[in-house]
Amino acid sequence: MCVAVPGKVIEINGPKAKVDVMNNTCDVDIRLVQPKLGDYVLIHAGCAIDVLSKDAAEEILWMFNELEEEMNGHPGADR
């Protein structure tokens, strides 16, 4: 339920951050959490919902890679 993907915060601009998600840079709303530069965040529908440890981020990333192939080439298009 509620697919979410982790990424690393590489830049913070007020309520938004640039986050590295599997080597792609995304703009993410960070109003629901307070990440610092270098933190890992859990991103759901364009919004960070949690700050994660690196280990937790890697664990979910592994799952996400596995799921990606099931998403018919449209990762992130579903909630």
Partner: protein, 348 residues
């Protein structure tokens, strides 16, 4: 400390009474397949899937309303991709586009702000479907709509809450012994949300991560609790889930939304199982209160039995025949989070 090898050995050799464990999260269902968890545990431990796919439980009349709005002059429906193929009584949003309807797929509700600002002559309607993970993001969207004073962006809400659905299952489906609680919903609502259910119904609720070893550890924890006659909430995903959840997200939810009863496709009415816009924000509602409290699933479709854990997807006569991800008859086959879709893609 018990090792993973010992856990696997105990789970594989379990020969007690049959245990039914329900996972309510599509990502857990996928992980169970990807890690071959069923082959690592005793056949006496049954893993079944619950109603954790928001698309699957969204009524067809909701899809009808979206289709109607997309075909209205100067209107445009905004949605996540997974709603496009879900059939209503008047077809799907994909079919609406073929008839001239305006529909755009977005990655985030917050992207709809740009669309609304760039095209003030169009009335945009976001298909606000989801569980507690997604609801705070609609709250942030409302923050921005108010700040920017936008009048051409509204929500059509079908926002479900998971604990009333779990209570419905505990109350009505007697064969389920324990639950693996959803991971990302728990990030928002916190592990304490399951405590009342664990106490009232005497069933273990274990919050688990998504790795194979985490799911095995969760099953083992459930086994130990059942063996000892315990029924506790155990948070085994402490790296992401706290006891209290995300306070900012909960605050945003409480600012804009209030609980109401709702209709779940395939299940029926569940009291206090949904979040609708508070009366102070009704001007941003695109007509969500239309929901009819009746629903007929397509002929032969057993999605109800699937999401309530009565049967596995392969026991549905339509599975893999007339119902496939490319031509989904029932809602559970449509989404990447739908249990039938996950079983179909992993059936080997």
């Amino acid at each position: 400390m018990v090792t993973l090898e010992q856990i696997v050995k105990e789970l594989k050799e379990y020969d007690g009474e049959e245990i039914k464990i329900m996972e309510v999260c599509g990502t857990h269902t996928s992980s169970i397949f990807k890690n071959g968890i069923r082959s690592l545990i005793s056949p006496k431990i049954k893993l079944i899937s619950g109603p954790g796919c928001p698309v699957c439980v969204t009524p067809s009349v909701y899809v009808d309303k979206l289709v109607e709005l997309s075909l209205k002059p100067s209107h445009c429906v905004l949605t996540f991709g997974d709603m496009m193929k879900v059939k209503g009584n008047q077809g799907s949003l994909t079919e609406a586009v073929a008839k001239g309807g305006r529909v755009r797929v977005l990655y985030s509700p917050l992207d709809s702000l740009t669309a609304a600002q760039e095209d003030p002559d169009t009335q945009y309607v976001f298909a606000a479907v989801g569980f507690e993970t997604t609801t705070p993001i609609y709250g942030l969207l409302l923050d921005e709509i108010l700040k920017k004073n936008l009048s051409n962006l509204k929500l059509l809400t079908s926002l479900k809450t998971i604990t009333p659905a779990l209570e419905y299952i505990c109350e009505n489906e007697k064969g389920i012994d324990a639950f693996i609680a959803p991971g990302h919903v728990s990030v928002i609502i916190g592990s304490q949300s399951y405590e009342a259910l664990a106490e009232k119904y005497g069933k273990p609720f274990v919050v688990a991560g998504f790795g194979g070893e985490h799911i095995l550890a969760a099953i083992y924890e459930i086994l130990l609790q059942l063996r000892d006659g315990r029924h506790q909430v155990k948070n085994m995903y402490v790296s992401a889930v706290s006891q209290e959840g995300n306070p900012q997200a909960l605050s945003v939810i409480n600012q804009y939304f209030e609980t109401k009863e709702d209709f779940w496709r395939g299940i029926g009415v569940i009291p206090q199982s949904s979040l609708g816009l508070k009366s102070a924000y009704q001007q941003f509602d695109a007509g969500s209160s239309f929901i009819e409290y009746r629903e007929e699933l397509p002929k032969g479709c057993r999605c109800t039995d699937v999401i309530l854990g009565r049967i596995t997807p392969v026991e549905c006569p339509l599975f893999g025949g007339s119902c496939t991800p490319l031509n989904a008859v029932g809602p559970c086959m449509v989404s990447t989070e739908g249990v039938c879709g996950i079983w179909y893609k992993n059936r080997g």
